[in-house]
């Protein structure tokens, strides 16, 4: 009598930490749907300058003209007529944690945000539904001239011109349908400016929580890292699970000036009713560097491909990403890079794990333009399939338009090696522990790129739990 090995022995991402709901009591929310009246209403409520009101309406026009992409996972379950585009929480933005209303404060405390701020962050922004409810930056960081504030304040305050100069210039509303949607109904998000030569030694973090049922979150993050400066920015997102679709269509625009370096880390753990149609883009000038670290664990459907435009000579990008798709999830993730200047380089490393009917797609595009001589690009993606109900696709594209380029690409797809399991078992390790060890090893190159507390969280998220008792026996 032999025991049949159960293939499906790796636990799904545990969302229970994030899956708790607050009673909804917004101070204002729009009706569901998307009309010029709703866009005007949002603009009025937020006290937009006139140019922004016009921008929103123009974006809505563009949204109505564009169609949904013909590629990617289906988004039929998303009906904009049912999405509430703006939900203002029943509080103002606060600079003191103690001033935040108790229920919202408790939510973020359960997510560990204030604790993280005390321990390891230079500043924190917390968004609840459509608006930022807390923003704070350490005094010593602010004294260096670092600006870290919410987008609404930036839009009207002394950085208004800077915001206007950069807002949706990298991701124009014409880029795709959901960029247009973002342009029409965006709300919340953060603005960061790091002055020339300033190195922000500890990270800034924004955390986005969507509590309202059937709502959309459309925060806008705009970061400018001036010449020779350095910043590490962390973004976290989560939401409780509802039985109706929620939508996240945020937009991140990063401007990395000459010789500057920006590290942008994201841990995305939206609930499994979320459509995550997010757009992120960086413009990197001469000698600048952008480093993306991306962990995608949540949402029902994701379209997420951070893009880097290497505009200045010697600019560099690195992308390190991991995606874990469990039951009912279709996560289409990857990266895009455009080499638009000579001697630029890009390095993309991704891992994906599919389990229990989950579908992972790695999608990328590497473009080397005519004028970009002497460029180097390397792409490596690995996928692990944990059962045959799941799916894993790799869809990379390379477009090279000159002869002085060095482009390499490699991809692998496979399962947990029986030989490796056998070897570990021969060393006295139980089978389930052996499988756990192998998956940990698979994810390790990515987790080591994360801030330590996030690496621990990620390891917990993909913690391996063996189900000995339910293993069938024949």
């Amino acid at each position: 009598m032999s025991k049949v090995l159960q293939k499906d022995q790796i636990a799904e991402v545990d969302h229970s930490l994030y899956d708790f709901k607050d009673v909804e009591h917004p101070s204002f929310e729009t009706n569901a749907g998307l009309t010029p009246e709703i866009v005007e209403q949002i603009s009025r409520k937020k006290g937009d300058p006139e140019w922004m009101r016009e921008f929103r309406l123009k974006s809505l026009d563009i949204y109505n003209q564009l169609s949904v992409p013909e590629w990617g996972p289906p988004i039929d379950g998303l009906d904009m007529r049912n999405i509430v585009a703006y939900v203002r929480p029943d509080t103002q933005m606060h600079g003191k944690w103690s001033d935040v209303p108790d229920d919202i404060k408790n939510t973020f405390e359960r997510l560990g945000i204030p604790e993280a701020e005390r321990k390891s962050l230079a500043g924190v922004g917390a968004q609840y539904d459509s608006e930022i409810v807390y923003h704070n930056v350490r005094k010593e960081v602010a004294e260096q001239g670092v600006v870290y504030t919410d987008m609404e304040s930036a839009l009207k305050g002394k950085y208004a011109d800077m915001v206007r100069e950069h807002f949706m210039k990298l991701v124009p509303p014409t880029d795709h349908k959901f960029a247009a949607l973002h342009g029409a109904v965006w709300s919340g998000g953060s603005f960061v400016y790091v002055p020339p030569g300033v190195s922000v030694e500890i990270p800034l973090q924004s955390y986005f929580r969507l509590n309202a049922r059937g709502a959309g979150q459309f925060e806008h993050t705009l970061i400018i890292v001036d010449k020779g400066a350095y910043l590490h920015f962390i973004e976290g997102c989560s939401a409780p699970k509802y039985n109706v679709a929620n939508l996240h269509a945020g937009c991140v625009e990063l401007f990395v000036e000459e010789g500057a370096r920006l590290r942008y880390s994201t841990i995305e753990n939206w609930s499994k009713n979320m459509y995550n149609l997010n757009t992120k883009r960086a413009l990197v000038k001469k000698g600048g560097t952008v480093e993306w670290v991306s962990g995608s664990f949540g949402s029902h459907t994701s379209y997420l491909y951070p893009m880097s435009i290497l505009q200045g000579e010697g600019a560099r990008m690195e992308f390190t990403g991991i995606t874990f798709a469990g039951k009912g999830q279709q996560l289409d993730t990857g990266a895009k890079v455009v080499h638009a200047a000579p001697h630029t380089s890009s390095h993309i490393v991704t891992k994906s794990i599919s389990k229990d009917g989950g579908e992972c797609t790695y999608r990328s595009a590497v473009t080397i333009q005519k004028q970009a001589s002497g460029c180097k690009s390397s792409v490596s993606c690995e996928s692990l399939m944990l059962d045959s109900q799941s799916r894993s696709d790799t869809i990379p594209a390379m477009d090279i338009r000159n002869d002085d380029a060095d482009v390499g690409h490699e991809a692998k797809i496979g399962r947990i090696s029986d030989d490796a399991v056998f070897y570990l078992m021969s060393r006295g390790i139980r089978e389930e522990d052996a499988r756990a060890l192998i998956v940990s090893g698979f994810a390790e190159p990515i987790s080591k790129e994360l801030p330590v507390e996030y690496a621990v969280e990620m390891n917990n998220l993909i913690k391996l739990e063996m189900d000995q008792e339910s293993a069938p026996v024949c």
Partner: protein, 348 residues
């Protein structure tokens, strides 16, 4: 001159961003005035075979066929045809050939198809080849395309492989103004295997558009696709290579590599190597290397007295040599080498 627009050919099995221009291709085909006498419908066994370029190209070839061949290799017999499927094209006569190859169980089949230009005028070729490889059959299909730089050409191929069958396609896409080709192999038989060895050359303003698909549905199936090419001038090439593991194709392997040498700042090279996978117990890999010629190697050859053009030719010939060696006719191998030499001199 009757033309027909093929609007949806060489479709990528999983679509991606439209702005990359790789999701599908368009092609202007030329209808011949005289057509061959062919059966009204394709034999059922062949009709169900999918091809790499897709239904539009297949239908065009069926409806405009000028040369129709059915090859039957009897059980456990050997069949070789390296002579009768050679086409010399001239401007006034489009050639559209349809070839159906049925390799019965245990047979060994080698078929050579070649396309050359009879003169310097613009010519057109469209081809459809479908192959059934029954249990344990071995099929080698060699296609050599050496049209002049005004030629237009498409070549659509489909394989169906039964248990233990092995099929191999060697394609030399070296000529023409437009060269479009597609090949789909359905590995449905237990332990069936498929190999594709493609070499291509782009020069002048040539447009190359290639689409290869290995679809694994049978258990313990194996595919190995290799593509190797050189691009000069303002040539523009798209290579799509897909390994598709369907659920149930346990213990299958699929490997794919592409090496492209770039010799001009005006070339455009697009490569889209896909792995689609709904089966856990598989091993799929792809790798692509795209760039200029290795400078150390070039320097070494120059130091041995070769001119730069000769050195480049030598490197390209070395890269193409394994595929050329599989062409089952030494004189044609020599013709290919001479052709390559001429094209590169023209470029130089």
């Amino acid at each position: 001159m009757m033309e027909e627009q093929l609007k949806n050919i060489n479709t990528l099995p999983a679509l991606t961003w439209n702005h990359l221009g790789v999701n599908r291709a368009k092609f202007t085909a030329q209808r011949p005035e005289k057509r061959a006498a062919v059966p009204a419908t394709m034999p059922e066994a062949f009709a169900k075979i999918e091809t790499g370029m897709g239904k539009e190209a297949e239908t065009f070839a069926e409806q405009n066929c000028t040369a129709y061949h059915v090859i039957e290799a009897e059980e456990n017999q050997e069949y070789t045809n390296t002579d009768s499927l050679r086409y010399s094209l001239t401007g006034g006569d489009p050639v559209v050939d349809v070839t159906l190859i049925h390799a019965h169980a245990g047979s060994r089949v080698t078929v050579l198809q070649s396309y050359t230009s009879g003169d310097d005028s613009a010519c057109f070729h469209g081809g459809l080849t479908k192959i059934i490889a029954e249990k344990g059959a071995q099929v080698r299909l060699v296609q050599v395309q050496l049209l002049n730089s005004a030629g237009r050409h498409f070549d659509d191929v489909g394989f169906l492989l039964d248990d233990g069958a092995h099929a191999e396609i060697i394609q030399a896409e070296l000529g023409g103004q437009c060269a479009y080709s597609g090949c789909l192999a359905l590995l449905q038989g237990y332990q069936s295997s498929f190999g594709a060895d493609t070499i291509y050359l782009g020069d002048g303003t040539r447009k190359l558009d290639l689409n290869y698909v290995a679809r694994h549905t049978g258990k313990k199936t194996a595919s190995e696709m290799k593509a190797s090419g050189a691009l000069f001038g303002q040539s523009d090439k798209i290579y799509r290579g897909t390994i598709d593991f369907i659920c149930g194709a346990a213990r299958s392997t699929g490997h794919e590599t592409e090496n492209t040498l770039l010799f001009s700042p005006k070339v455009r090279n697009r490569t889209v190597p896909l792995i689609l996978c709904s089966e856990e117990d598989v091993d799929g890999q792809h790798a692509a290397t795209i760039g200029k010629i290795n400078q150390e190697r070039l320097f070494y050859l120059l130091s041995r007295g070769l001119t730069e053009a000769e050195a480049k030719q030598l490197v390209i010939e070395a890269q193409f040599a394994p595929a050329i060696a599989k062409v089952p006719d030494e004189s044609l191998q020599k013709t290919i080498r001479n052709y390559l030499g001429r094209r590169m001199q023209l470029d130089g």
